[in-house]
């Protein structure tokens, strides 16, 4: 709220000033009498904005139609691409619709189906399993790499750039690359395992390993982004804290545990929230790699939604899943904020 108010304030102020300049100029060039007559009245709106209002509740801002015109593109975008689809999706929850035939009212049918649908719970379980592997792995690797890249080492920029590369590369490309790596007979990973005398793993063909395989890949793809975030966090930690600790004889581990980690808490929170949301919107990886299989072991919520919408043309049920999923993400993030953020304070 606050910054918006400030924006409006400065905008009005500017237009007030802008309006005044030509008026003043004219007054100067032309006859002085109308200029003088205008003089006292025209600055008033400007000054009214400039002086801080004693009682903010009673302040009256004159609505400027130009302002509405200027936010119109955004409003249009909001209505057409967010508001309308959202409202439409909500209506769809109560209908059966395959696009081609008229919508059919089904009441709470979709919701009932959702509550008894084992696959949505399976998708939820899969997502949590994914997060359980992905988040710790992500945090540890990203923080470790950030710590390393924060030192003065040779080729630091090169490493920073190369860890960030997978973030920029298209998810489909990364997925197809990893599909080759994970291939049972010819994949590089299994070839290496065989070389060390270990048995190969059916990475994507075995329901036990498919999800961990995807979690490892997702970590590899996203870790660069989190390295950058942690780097920013690390550089924001005042150096004198470490100096003071060193004077007190703290070991490197103590410095890391007692200064770095607590000071990075906001970043950790951000990484946690971002990877949780990322985990809940997992789609490309299972879609390209496994199609949700084997035996639904990599079925994600969004993939399930996609299948309902695009394989079975059940738009109503797909939007029901969408709303349900959004609700879960919202709750999980809320919980994370409550537990992780307050702990540090």
């Amino acid at each position: 709220m606050q910054p918006e108010e400030a924006n409006k304030f400065s905008m009005h102020n500017k237009t007030g000033v802008g309006g005044q300049v030509p008026g003043a100029g004219k007054a100067g060039v032309g006859s002085q009498v109308p200029g003088a007559g205008k003089g006292p009245s025209s600055p008033t709106p400007g000054t009214r904005h400039l002086t801080p209002d004693p009682a903010p509740g009673t302040r009256h801002l004159t609505p400027d139609p130009v302002g509405y015109l200027m936010v119109l593109p955004y409003l249009l975008h909001l209505v057409v691409f967010v508001g309308y689809p959202l409202a439409f999706a909500f209506v769809l929850i109560f209908h059966r619709w395959n696009i081609y035939t008229p919508m059919k009212w089904v009441g709470l049918g979709n919701i009932k189906l959702l509550l008894t649908d084992q696959l949505i719970w399976r998708a939820l379980f899969n997502t949590l399993y994914f997060l359980l592997i992905h988040i710790p792995l992500q945090l540890i690797i990203a923080l470790g790499l950030a710590q390393l890249l924060n030192q003065k080492i040779r080729g630091r920029t090169f490493f920073r750039a190369s860890y960030f590369m997978p973030v920029v590369v298209s998810g489909v490309v990364v997925t197809i690359l990893w599909q080759q790596l994970y291939a049972t007979e010819t994949g590089l990973i299994n070839v290496l395992l065989h070389r060390f005398g270990l048995p190969g793993i059916e990475w994507l063909g075995d329901p036990r390993y498919a999800m961990p395989a995807i979690a490892i890949m997702a970590t590899w793809k996203n870790v660069g982004l989190y390295v950058v975030l942690f780097l920013v966090g690390l550089q924001a930690i005042p150096a004198d804290l470490y100096e003071a600790a060193e004077l007190d004889g703290a070991s490197a581990w103590q410095k890391f545990r007692l200064i770095t980690v607590p000071m990075l808490n906001p970043t950790i929170m951000l990484v946690l929230v971002l990877s949780t949301i990322g985990g809940f919107s997992l789609f490309i990886e299972p879609y390209v790699m496994t199609g949700g299989g084997p035996a639904n072991s990599t079925l994600s919520g969004i993939l399930y939604l996609y299948k309902q919408a695009f394989f079975f043309s059940k738009m109503g049920y797909a939007t029901t899943i969408g709303f349900f999923w959004a609700m879960i993400i919202f709750m999980v993030v809320l919980l994370q904020r409550r537990f992780v953020e307050t702990e540090a304070l």
Partner: protein
């Protein structure tokens, strides 16, 4: 997430646009000379197109006032979607000849097709071709007929008889235990490297709904002697027959007779597997690509040991429909009668190796010469009147998807018992049916 419906609408509109560009609207109107032109969409494979073109040319030479224009059905993600998009955008042709009967309910819901039993001679024409009980499989929920059952590709099991013989199997298996006994002999390590390199059969177990039309469904029909999966929107397949089918497949996978791997290329043609589910279309494929010493034969879909005698299978039928947009449905109906005439049925066999759904093919003098020249087609012809169609509900895909999911988790990955898997598939299917 919320943008998906919009995106979907976009795709639908795009599809509709494509379809409307490809179909020729003016063709539906009477031409300047008072001639009527009807547009006929054919399946896109070369043989069927050739059949359609030849047939249309003959009709056109005999009927100057009603001309037929053949077009291949526009390609899309699935033919069904293309047809539905065409209905939604009013760009349907007059006649379409390759409808999957399982999709009829969707077409009816979209109000895209005309009722055919309104024509006074409908039943006469149909009953001349097939017995009433066979026709009834194609009746809609409202007790009316909207499709003409046209052709079929009954599912059977093809065997590499040479591989069977080398393994000491003399006669083709017909029951589960015969199949498993044969499989035990055939599945082995041929080159002695300690790894199995020859298997009894292969199944594409990837859980895509329609793939179960060619393994689970024919096995179920064989085990139940042709029972339906649904009865008036009630799931009927939660029974011991389904469990028997799951158990049989489970055993094949558990013992490694059907490998848990998907082959690249045609493993049957390469001689790596000795059997697979297929239809008559594989004859022309094999005749073209098989090595000189490759021997094969077709056998019935295996059935439980407790059943004796002739069993049934899945017909994989296709039907002909007339769209609502057709401005001359009577002429279209006359043309359909021409399509399913004896002479064109023979032509269909000759050109496409697909079977007309016509009773008594083997006793009919008109076809005698064909079956003499193509003895392998005799077995398929025997199935034409006994093989079954498919239930038509809008949720059919999802029901088969439920079955496919359970086949994968129980049969392939052994994550649950066949009993539990059948029960779960049935329960999920019923929930989907009830949700509407």
């Amino acid at each position: 997430m919320s943008a998906r419906p919009l995106q979907r609408v976009g795709i639908a509109l795009l599809l509709a646009l494509v379809v409307s560009c490809m179909s020729s609207n003016p063709a539906k109107l009477t031409g300047p000379s008072g001639k009527i032109t009807l547009t006929y969409w054919s399946a896109t494979n070369a043989q069927e197109l050739e059949f359609a073109n030849q047939m249309a040319a003959e009709w056109n030479s005999q009927h100057t006032e009603v001309q037929i224009k053949v077009e291949p059905v526009p390609s899309g993600q699935s033919t069904e979607e293309v047809i539905l998009a065409a209905i939604a955008s009013n760009t349907t042709p007059d006649i379409y000849a390759s409808v999957f009967p399982g999709a009829m309910q969707d077409l009816l819901d979209a109000r895209g097709v005309i009722q055919l039993d309104e024509y006074p001679d409908f039943f006469n024409v149909m009953h001349e071709r097939m017995p009433p009980e066979l026709l009834e499989q194609y009746r809609s929920f409202d007790e009316h007929y909207y499709q003409v059952p046209w052709k079929s590709n009954p599912v059977m099991v093809i065997y590499n008889t040479r591989m069977l013989r080398e393994a000491g199997v003399i006669s083709l298996p017909t029951t589960y235990s015969e199949f498993l006994a044969a499989a035990a002999r055939v599945t082995r390590d041929r080159n002695g490297d300690g790894r199995i390199d020859q298997w009894m059969a292969t199944i594409d177990y990837f859980p895509i709904w329609y793939k179960r039309l060619f393994d689970y469904y024919p096995l179920y029909l064989a085990a139940t002697n042709g029972q339906k999966l649904l009865d008036n929107r009630r799931v009927m397949f939660d029974n011991e027959h389904s469990i028997a089918v799951f158990r049989f497949l489970h055993e094949c996978f558990a013992r490694g007779y059907i490998p848990r791997q998907l082959f690249q290329g045609d493993a049957f043609l390469d001689g790596r597997v000795a059997a697979k589910f297929t239809g008559p279309y594989s004859i022309s494929h094999l005749e073209r690509y098989r090595p000189a010493d490759f021997e094969y034969s077709f056998g019935p879909v295996p059935h439980p040991d407790s059943i004796a005698g002739q069993t049934t299978s899945y017909a994989d039928p296709k039907s002909i429909i007339i769209f609502k947009t057709c401005t001359h449905p009577r002429e279209a109906w006359e043309f359909i009668k021409f399509v399913i005439s004896r002479q064109n049925d023979l032509q269909l066999l000759e050109l496409t190796s697909q079977l007309p759904i016509r009773a008594g093919l083997l006793d009919d003098q008109a076809f005698a010469d064909y079956f003499k020249r193509n003895p392998r087609m005799v077995q398929f012809a025997e199935q034409v009147t006994t093989a079954r169609s498919i239930d038509s509900v809008a949720e059919l895909k999802e029901i088969f998807d439920s079955i496919a999911q359970e086949v994968e988790s129980s049969v392939v990955f052994d994550l649950k018992s066949p009993e539990q898997a059948v029960h779960d598939a049935a329960r999920r299917s019923q929930q989907i049916l009830d949700a509407q």
